[in-house]
Symmetry: C2
Subunit: 369 residues, 2 copies
Amino acid sequence: MEWCIIVDVNFVFGGILEMSYKLAIIGFGGMGNYHFDQIKERIPEIEVVGVFDVRQERLDYAKESGLKAYTSVDELIADKEVQIVLISTPNDFHAPLSIKCMRGGKNVVCEKPVTMNAPELEEVLKVSKETGKVFVVHQNRRWDKDYVIIKNILDNKLLGRAFYVENRVQGSKRSLEGWRGFKLNGGGMVYDWGIHLIDQTMWLIKSPVVDVQGHLARMFSTEVDDNFKAFLKFEDGTSALIEVSTNCFIPQARWHMMCEDGTAIVEDWECNGKMVRLSDDRDLGWEDQIVYTVAGPTRTMAPRPRETTEELSLPEVKSDWADYYKNVIAAIEGREELIVKPAESLRVMKVVDAIFESDKTGHSVACHI
Amino acid sequence: MEWCIIVDVNFVFGGILEMSYKLAIIGFGGMGNYHFDQIKERIPEIEVVGVFDVRQERLDYAKESGLKAYTSVDELIADKEVQIVLISTPNDFHAPLSIKCMRGGKNVVCEKPVTMNAPELEEVLKVSKETGKVFVVHQNRRWDKDYVIIKNILDNKLLGRAFYVENRVQGSKRSLEGWRGFKLNGGGMVYDWGIHLIDQTMWLIKSPVVDVQGHLARMFSTEVDDNFKAFLKFEDGTSALIEVSTNCFIPQARWHMMCEDGTAIVEDWECNGKMVRLSDDRDLGWEDQIVYTVAGPTRTMAPRPRETTEELSLPEVKSDWADYYKNVIAAIEGREELIVKPAESLRVMKVVDAIFESDKTGHSVACHI
């Protein structure tokens, strides 16, 4: 019996007491700070121990917060206690810093967009393989409730297979903060929100992307795309519209998904919305009758009798972003595969490359990603 | 003074008393009947005198309605009294019948889609030129109030230039009536509602189409597209999404248009909707602050202060479909150019061809239409 109790204690407290991972942050701006706060509050398995930033005021703030303030990346890497490095710098530094940290023996969590293009990411992944260090992108929006609802509807076949998906985030600020407005640093909406929506969409639809048409607009920025739409075709026949706007004053729904047996809408981040599903008694005969709408006669667009459909609430889902870091730890310990797999991040970067190429040539990019 | 009065009488009554045009209809189905009713009620300048249809019951109905019932197209053409022929047959008959009628000395009003493809239309237009007969497509949806509102907003620069336009008609009947389900007859949604929305969009944005990506779905039809989306890029940087669905149970707005200085939405055929326009005091500084939404932190998508925008009603517009036929008569009399110009109909057919080609190849079609 005593033996049993010892095992139990190890199981329950082991992770926290003995296995607390030490994490250091490179780039202590908005996102770096967000990770720090969130980890402190929600991930007992990880302790943030130090920070490197090029700005003295951020290092001062780190010290005030009880963290080590490294004066260089080398000093951070030399800190033997650190097992995980979070990289949350401007985007153009992600690849070189990730490589440097892995070669220095650290596991790496990297903010998105992971790199500036797919070939750069391939270099990074090569180093992950060589060194055996875990490398994972912070695609945290896979845990967003609106997305989890949409994924739940598809995965559980609540409305049958999807054929048109629209995945949008529309704002109206007409401005990009700091380096997010600079081309050199990987600014613009494709790299920013876009990469989240692309990752979500590709994790939703399990089929290769075969055509990418990007339409990037520069409404107020002189350097980068401040609004974009991309239209992805998947091999299985699904198509997805992905949109990120900063110049939209009447937002559309966060998600609109048309499936064979019904339609789902998620209006906003609060996840207002509904599903409308065909009843079993779904087939309508043609009455040889034209319906006269305000806009003239139509047969095809005449309304469907209400009793042939049913309106349903969106499914209840649970989602906890803390599971992201728990999975990173499990992967470091070899207990689980990464949820955000390197191969998936590479596919996302290839689609990003195709969007930029499509913008340059003005035409869609045939591919098999 | 007497002289003046005589001129006045001629001006007011001349068109009706002396110049009443005689029109015959080939294809007396739903649309043929619609033209008959509408002309009788709203176009005093035109009198429908006869009908040809392959179905005896439709000829019987024509006779009951006081019309001549021709037993062949040749008999119709031989009727010297007839100056205009309306062709409202299944789509595959449009081109040969149009050519036959013009060679027989008739002016032709042709239902949409005017032909099955652009080369066919070029043949038809050649005959129009040779014979000097007016040939015009019934793109009546240029007179739809929802469209006229959107066009008014752009033409009067109420929101500046457009960059993203979405033009949709979504129904849920999941069935196509009669020949509209057959490939041979030019069935499917691209040819049906699609061609209206393409025509509207191309008449809205005055720039060549440079890329066309079509995504055709066959959700219940085995022959033709029963749902489609097309994404058009225009040379001036505008992009347009055109969608016609018959398998959508939660409809989106009829129109959503993002412009440089604001956004417009027309919800439905009743033209509910609004505009939101930037105020003069539009520039927001960046406060170094992250906004915490339900879906996590974001700077870029933080809401804009209300006082930097103003909400406006959609413009009041007047539109009368009768102007279509009045313009046809004015064109026959050489007083006006056609509103629905043959060159515009040809551009629309070329975009339709590109949509079908894109569906076949799976990739977008680079063009300059």
